[in-house]
Amino acid sequence: MSLYLLRRLLISAPVLLGISIVLFAILALAPGDPFGELALNPNIPPEVRLNLRQQFGLDDPLVLRYLRWLAAMLRGDWGYSFVSRMPVQLLIMQRLPTTLFVLGSAYVMALMIALPVGILSAVKPYSVFDQIATTLAFIGYSLPTFFTGLLFILVFSISLGWLPFIYSSTIEATGFAWVLEHLRQGAMPITVLGLFEAAALTRFVRASMLEVMPQDFVTTARAKGLRESRLIFKHALRNALIPVVTVVALQIPTIFTGAVITEQIFRVPGIGSLLIASIESTDTPVVMAITFVYAMLVILFNLIADVVYGFLDPRIAYN
C-alpha cells in the first residue's frame, strides 16, 4: 500500500509541474507587468526602477524566471500582498482552515445523503421513492449554488430570521456556545454546497449500483442465502463505489467552483472570498498564490481518491 501511494505521489508531481507551467504561462502572456507594479510606479525615479527590475529579474529569459518563481513557490516564499502588506503564505494560512472546514463538512453531508438515497433508489428502481429521489437529484443538480444560496438567505435569514447570513471569524463565546455558534453560521453555506454535491453524487451512486446489482457475483451471493443487507453493503456497494470514486475525483475541480461562490455569498472568510477580493484590488501575488493553492488541493484530493481506490479494491494497490 505504501509503495502504491509512493508511486501515485510520484505521478502527481509532473501534474503539479504542468499546472505551474500553465499558471506561469498565463501570467507571462498577460499584458503589462503584473508583478512589476512597484517598478512601474511613476513616483519612483528611473534608476531605482531599473534597479528594482534587475532585482526582481523581470528582464531575464522566461525559463529562468519560471524556475525562480517555481523555486520560490516550493520554498513557501510566495511574495508580499500589495494590499495587506504581509507575506502571502501567512494570509492564505489564516484563511485556509475555514475553507477546508466548510468544504469538508459539505462533503460529509453530501455523502451522508447520497449514499443511502442512491442505494435505496437502485435497490428498488422505478419505485415511488426512486422516482422522487431521481427527480429531486435532477433538479438539485441543475440549481446553481449562487441561486440556492440567495434563496436560503431569503428564506432562513430574511423571512424566518433563524440563521445569520454573514460568517464571522471572531466569535465571542467559549466552549459549547462557540461550537453552536459556528454550526449556526456554517449551516447555510455547508448545506448549499452539500446539497448540490449530494444531488450529483446520488445520480452516480444510483447508476453505479444499478450496474452492479444484476451481475453474476451478486446473484451467486444471493443464491448462497446471504441476507439482503449484507449482500448490498458487503458485496454490491464495495464494487459499485469504485466508479463513483473515479467520478468524484474528476469532479473535484468543479467542487471548488461551488466553494468559491458559496464563500462569496455568505461572506465566509476563506481563500475563495480572498481570491475575489484580491482580484478586485488587483493584488496579483495573492491571486496567483490562491490559484496555485487550488491546484494543489485538486492534486491532494486526487491522492486521497487513490488511497480510497486501494482500500476498495486491493488489486489496484498491488498491481
Binding site: 499546472i19 498565463i26 503584473p34 431569503l154 475541480p253 468559491v260 455569498i265
Partner: protein, 308 residues
C-alpha cells in the same frame, strides 16, 4: 375493387416505409416526456429572448428613480431594479447574451475537443500519449479560479482591442470553451480507437481512402453520438460558468445585464426587492434544467444499443 385497395393498404403497412436515422432518433427522443418538455421550454425561451425585445420595446437602461425597486406590476411586468430600470427588458436582453455565450463556448469546446481527440485517436502512439497527458492536465486544473485569473489578467486588453462588449464576450467565450474541451476529446478518442478496428474502416483503407477523408467521412460521423450528448449538456454548464463569473462581478461590463450579472446586482437588495433576484435566478435554473433533460433524452435516443 374495394377489397383490392384494402389488400394494397395492408401490404403497405407490413412493408412499412423505410425509416431514416434521424426520424428514428426523434421518435426515441419523444419517448422521454420530460426531455420533450425541456426542448419546448428552451425553444420558447430562446425565441422569447430573440423576438421578445421587438414586441416589448422598453429600453434596458431607462433610468427612473421614481419607480425604483418596484415589485411586479402593470407598468413593469417583472418589476424594476434600484435605478428603476425595467427588469423584463433586462432579463430578455440578458437571456440573449447568456444563451449566446453557452452556445458559442460549447461550439469552441467541441471543435477543439474533436480535433484533439481525432488526432490522438487516429495517430495513436506517442502523439496520443502526449495529447492524453495534456487532457489529464487540463482536467485537473481548478476551473473557476483559473477562469477568474485569465479574465482578470486579460480583461482590459480585450476591451481595448475590441469594443468593451465584444471584447468581454470573446474573452469569456474563449476561456470557457478553452477549459471545457477535455470531455469531447476523450469521447472522440475512445470512439476512434474502437472504430479503427472495424471492418468498414479496414475496407475504406484497403480502397485507398486518403487519411483526411477517412477521418471526416468514415470515422467522425460514427463517433458523434456521445459528443452530441456531451455538447448539449455542456451548453448548460457553460451558461452556469458565465453566470458564476458574472455573479462574482467579473463577467460582462455593467451595461450588459446577463442573468448572472442581474443576480450580482440584486443580491444586496434581497430584503427589500426579492423579485429582482428571483426572476433571473429562475431563468438560469429553467434553462439549465431544460438543457439537462434534453441531454438526458438525447442520451436515450442516440444510444444505439437500446432497442425500441
Amino acid at each position: 375493387m374495394a377489397s383490392s385497395t384494402r389488400v394494397l393498404r395492408t401490404t403497405r403497412n407490413i412493408v412499412a416505409r423505410p425509416q431514416s436515422l434521424w426520424r428514428n432518433i426523434w421518435r426515441r427522443f419523444c419517448r422521454h416526456r420530460l426531455a420533450l418538455l425541456g426542448l419546448l421550454v428552451l425553444l420558447v425561451l430562446t425565441l422569447g429572448t430573440l423576438f421578445g425585445p421587438m414586441v416589448y420595446q422598453r429600453k434596458i437602461n431607462d433610468i427612473d428613480f421614481t419607480a425604483s425597486l418596484q415589485g411586479p406590476g402593470l407598468a413593469h411586468p417583472l418589476g424594476t431594479d434600484d435605478m428603476g430600470q425595467d427588469l423584463l427588458a433586462r432579463i430578455l436582453y440578458g437571456g440573449r447574451v447568456s444563451i449566446a455565450v453557452g452556445l458559442t463556448s460549447m461550439l469552441i469546446a467541441v471543435l477543439l475537443g474533436t480535433l484533439v481527440g481525432a488526432v490522438a485517436g487516429y495517430c495513436g502512439g506517442s502523439i496520443d500519449n502526449v495529447l492524453m497527458r495534456l487532457t489529464d492536465l487540463f482536467i485537473s486544473l481548478p476551473q473557476l479560479p483559473l477562469l477568474l485569473l485569465v479574465v482578470y489578467l486579460f480583461r482590459d486588453t480585450m476591451r481595448r482591442l475590441f469594443t468593451p462588449e465584444l471584447g468581454s464576450f470573446l474573452l469569456i467565450v474563449l476561456v470557457i470553451g478553452g477549459l471545457r474541451w477535455m470531455q469531447p476529446a476523450r469521447l472522440v478518442r475512445a470512439a476512434f480507437l474502437s472504430l479503427k478496428e472495424k471492418e468498414f474502416v479496414e475496407a475504406a483503407v484497403a480502397l485507398g481512402t486518403p487519411p483526411l477523408r477517412l477521418v471526416v467521412w468514415h470515422l467522425l460521423p460514427n463517433a458523434m453520438s456521445p459528443v452530441i450528448v456531451a455538447a448539449s449538456l455542456g451548453v448548460g454548464s457553460a451558461i452556469l460558468a458565465e453566470s458564476s463569473l458574472s455573479f462574482l462581478g467579473l463577467g460582462f461590463p455593467p451595461d450588459m445585464p446577463t442573468w448572472g450579472r442581474l443576480l450580482f446586482e440584486a443580491k444586496d437588495y434581497l430584503d427589500t426587492a426579492p423579485h429582482w433576484a428571483l426572476f433571473p435566478g429562475t431563468m438560469i435554473f429553467l434553462v439549465v434544467l431544460s438543457i439537462n433533460y434534453v441531454g438526458d433524452g438525447l442520451r436515450d435516443a442516440l444510444d444505439a444499443r437500446k432497442v425500441l
